[in-house]
């Protein structure tokens, strides 16, 4: 190894330090929440005031503290925290009640704990093969649970509620959590390339989950599971033929679904021309477009929009709500933030030391990217609407906790990479005789 290589490696190891980014994040959190403190209904909003101080404090704690313990990717953590702040700010600005944003704050808090657990877990994990079968069984049982004890909600039966005295305390969407375990299992199976049986097992496992999701009518999750399974299969085997065949089968399945299920037909018809029935079936998407159009380039202003006219503005249509409040320029930049997270994630996958870690991190990034594309495309009427939510932003605990947990895995892998790089540098220095 030459001296120049060594320098490049050292630079690469210390690349991810961004004081400016942290500063901007804290500035955004504080100014947005302070603005909302005085704006909502023109009375002093104590909760927003506390959040205006608490959000920067927590962010600084995480961004300063975590890198001291582990060598994690700070840029990615900053970006994820930014998306979570956008979530709290948007929900506070649009919902105009204090309880709903508070719930979201709690979810994010739980999610951040899950993230730290995720980092520690993936760092400690030496024998991932032992986890595959238990996680597989868990996934199958957990995802099938709503079929047995769940109820229909918004045309799908994909959630379970924990009740006490007839009141739903908390509702959980298993498909959100199984996303992560699916990635884990697939990465585990597919990282052993020679084993045909294991590759087969991975595909069958993915297919089984898809069938269960079809029964639950959770089309959005179905599309995501299907596509990421295919992507991971392609990554691991490089088999273009079977990948293409899988995609074709998927397309045929979509066509069959169109003819077999009326709700798919309805979705497509609404997408094609919502103006045929602007007050009932097309109402949601039209109101989303109306909101985006009203926002214009620079937005109506925080708390000044009427995003509440869009049904499900806090979950499925939060992107349209953001467009209205912040304007489409901000919304486009938000997409850029997702791209940065994805690019950082891919670079983590590229520098991972084992193919299990590489596949796991790429899988998480892929499902995050596809989900973002699906829901943003649906919000702006580029593609038909599928019931998925905007990662890290939309209201809802399951999605938030599972994605933050998955981020933890990514960050953990990034720290493993950095540790390995550090070892390499030390070894090279020792070999070059610099360390005597």
């Amino acid at each position: 190894m030459t001296g120049m290589d060594l320098d490049t490696m050292k630079k690469a190891a210390s690349r991810s330090s961004g004081r400016t980014l942290t500063g901007l994040l804290v500035l955004f959190q504080a100014t947005a929440m302070l603005l909302l403190t005085f704006k909502i209904e023109y009375t002093l909003n104590l909760q927003s005031l506390i959040l205006a101080a608490a959000m920067p404090a927590v962010s600084l704690l995480l961004l300063k503290g975590l890198p001291k313990v582990w060598n994690i990717d700070r840029v990615m953590l900053t970006m994820v925290l930014f998306l979570c702040s956008v979530s709290i700010v948007t929900l506070t600005a649009t919902m105009k009640t204090s309880s709903a944003p508070l719930t979201q704050v709690i979810y994010i808090g739980v999610g951040l704990v899950a993230m730290i657990i995720g980092i520690a877990f993936i760092r400690k994990l030496k024998y991932w093969k032992r986890w595959i079968v238990p996680l597989m069984l868990f996934s199958l049982v957990f995802i099938a649970l709503p079929l047995v004890i769940g109820d229909w909600k918004n045309g799908a039966k994909n959630w379970i509620g924990i009740e006490r005295n007839g009141e739903t305390l908390i509702s959980i969407q298993p498909s959100e959590f199984v996303k992560v375990t699916l990635m884990f299992v697939l990465a585990g199976f597919l990282s052993e390339r020679q084993s045909r049986a294991k590759t087969f097992a991975a595909v069958v496992f993915g297919a089984l989950l898809c069938v269960i999701l079809l029964l639950e009518r959770d089309l959005g999750a179905l599309v995501l599971y299907f596509l990421t399974t295919i992507i991971l299969y392609f990554l691991a085997t490089s088999n273009l033929l079977i990948t293409a065949a899988g995609l074709c089968a998927g397309c045929m399945g979509a066509v069959c679904a169109y003819f077999m299920f009326d709700y798919v037909k309805t979705r497509l018809a609404i997408w094609q021309n919502p103006w045929l029935d602007p007050e009932v079936s097309g109402y949601q998407i039209i109101q989303a477009l109306v909101a985006i159009g009203s926002g214009g380039a620079s937005g109506m202003g925080l708390g000044l929009g009427l995003a509440r006219d869009i049904p499900l503005y806090y979950s499925d249509f939060i992107y349209a709500a953001i467009c209205e409040e912040f304007g489409f320029v901000f919304a486009l930049l938000l997409l850029a933030v997702y791209v940065i997270i994805i690019m950082r994630g891919i670079s983590i996958a590229m520098s991972a030391r084992t193919s299990f870690h590489a596949l796991l991190s790429f899988g998480i990034v892929a499902i995050l990217g596809l989900q973002t594309l699906l829901i943003v495309g649906g919000n702006i009427r580029l593609i038909p609407l599928t019931g998925v939510v905007l990662p890290f932003i939309a209201s809802g605990g399951s999605s938030m906790v599972s994605y933050l947990g998955a981020t933890g895995l990514l960050l953990g892998i990034s720290s493993l990479n950095a540790d390995a790089d550090q070892e390499d540098i030390e070894r090279a220095e020792w070999r070059d005789g610099r360390l005597v």
Binding site: W275, V290, F328
Partner: protein
């Protein structure tokens, strides 16, 4: 591991491209169609803004007030009744009865939804009640009123005048019209709310021969030097195509067939060209295009791409069968001939001014598409010039200027006792006065008569008023 990294790079790049694709599509359409989306459904924001925001004013190109909010907050329209009525559908009304009017389509601008942070800060500093932006239109109030006045009494129809080099709409008059103060009352007939220039789909009749001629010139070498014979009627399949008024043109050149508007010759050309070539040329002229102009809503013109019979193909070549076109689109087509084959994007908003008095930056949309080659445009222009100098369109002449045009008498019914729709489309050749016009008078008889005369007067007045 190396293979895995390569695959990850490939999939990563595909995902990145998808993000760029979604982002660009979104940015592009939000920028271009944002105002359209805003009014595409019931928008409570507009109603609530109307209560708190002073709506901006609408003026014509010279600054004549067409709509404004007076001090007590009520919406007022042009002072002169003639002007008010002539621009009624173009400007619109408070009740949005004319859905394509500026008052409805550009409410967002008038209510200041697109107002920048600078404007908001300025208004806050000077303590002014929130005020929307002012719009200066490209139309001329005087010209509109003149056209409205000259429009034959008792007839309905439309006149569209554009500047074919810039795409500016100079006048859109649609008859019947209405007084915006009386919008929604029983004094106004329902059809008055329709802007026929934008929403009226008419059979073009012989004015469509411009497109058939273009198709022939571009696809059939030597077509202009051939000799044609017209015996007044020729069967295509089991249906004959006849010339208007039972006329028999005899032997003629292509130019004569155009200036004398011989149906038999043009039906034969369309038949010889075949469906594919005709559809291709019609599509080049923006037929079957779903127009999404930023400034105005223009309905789609249609040329059938699924022709059932030879007869339909032949008749479509003379603008009958299922061919339908809007008057503004027809003016754009005539203008494209005058502009060397380049069709301009129509625009109606000249300038938007915020409360600071600084005009808003607006990108120019420029040309819409190149419809034919410059050479073909030149030949068609020659023919159209001859049509006005020495053909069916002689009544459209303007002293001191060269008018190029084409008449049309479109049948709307199989019943021969129903008068044809009278059409005239044309333009002034002089580049100093680049105006194109489309006139349609419903059941106005032959296009060479009332329509050509009105077109001539309109162009003359446009030169007088605008230069």
């Amino acid at each position: 591991m190396r293979e895995l990294r390569r695959n990850m790079r490939v999939v990563g790049i595909i995902m990145l491209c998808m993000f760029i694709g979604v982002g660009s599509w979104f940015g592009y359409s939000a920028y271009l169609q944002g105002t359209r989306w805003m009014t595409s459904g019931n928008n409570r924001r507009i109603n609530s803004a109307r209560k708190t925001v002073t709506m901006g004013s609408i003026t014509d190109r010279d600054g004549t007030l067409l709509a404004y909010t007076d001090t007590d907050g009520s919406r007022c329209y042009a002072a002169e009744r003639e002007v008010r009525r002539a621009v009624s559908q173009t400007v619109g009304d408070t009740l949005s009865m004319s859905g394509t009017g500026v008052e409805t389509m550009h409410t967002g601008i008038l209510l200041g939804f697109s107002g920048s942070i600078i404007d908001r800060t300025w208004q806050w500093m000077i303590g002014e009640n929130k005020r929307g932006d002012d719009i200066r239109l490209t139309i001329d109030a005087g010209l509109s009123a003149y056209i409205s006045e000259q429009f034959p009494d008792g007839y309905t129809g439309a006149v569209a005048v554009i500047n074919y080099r810039t795409g500016e709409v100079l006048a859109m008059v649609s008859k019947p019209d209405y007084d915006p103060y009386k919008a929604g009352t029983s004094d106004v007939v329902d059809t008055a709310y329709l802007n026929r220039c934008l929403q009226g789909k008419y059979a073009p009749g012989s004015v469509f021969k411009i497109i058939t001629l273009a198709a022939a010139l571009e696809n059939m070498p030597g077509v202009s030097s051939r000799a044609y014979t017209c015996e007044g009627s020729r069967p295509f399949g089991d249906v004959p195509v006849t010339c208007a008024g039972g006329k028999i043109h005899g032997g003629l050149t292509l130019e004569e067939a155009f200036t004398e508007s011989c149906n038999v010759t043009f039906a034969a050309l369309s038949y010889e060209l075949g469906g594919n070539k005709m559809v291709e040329t019609a599509n080049n002229f923006a037929f079957n295009d779903n127009f999404t102009f930023r400034d105005l809503v223009l309905y789609e013109s249609s040329y059938p791409s699924d022709m059932a019979s030879v007869a339909e193909l032949a008749w479509s070549g003379v603008g009958q069968a299922r061919v339908l076109v809007t008057p503004l689109h027809m003016a754009m087509i005539a203008g494209a001939i005058g502009n060397g084959g380049v069709m301009m994007t129509p625009k109606i908003i000249g300038q938007i001014t915020g409360s600071t008095g600084i005009p808003r930056l607006r990108t120019d949309e420029g040309s819409y598409k190149t419809v034919i080659s410059e050479n073909t445009a030149r030949i068609i222009g020659e023919y159209m010039k001859e049509t006005v100098e020495d053909g069916t369109g002689y009544r459209a002449e303007v002293d001191g200027y060269t008018v190029c045009g084409k008449t049309g008498s479109a049948e709307t019914s199989n019943d021969k006792s129903v008068a044809t729709n009278a059409w005239f489309v044309g333009y002034i050749e002089e580049k100093s006065s680049p105006y194109a016009v489309a006139v349609v008078i419903e059941q106005g008889g032959s296009g060479g008569d009332k329509a050509a005369r009105l077109a001539g007067k309109t162009l003359k007045k446009a030169i007088e008023l605008i230069g």
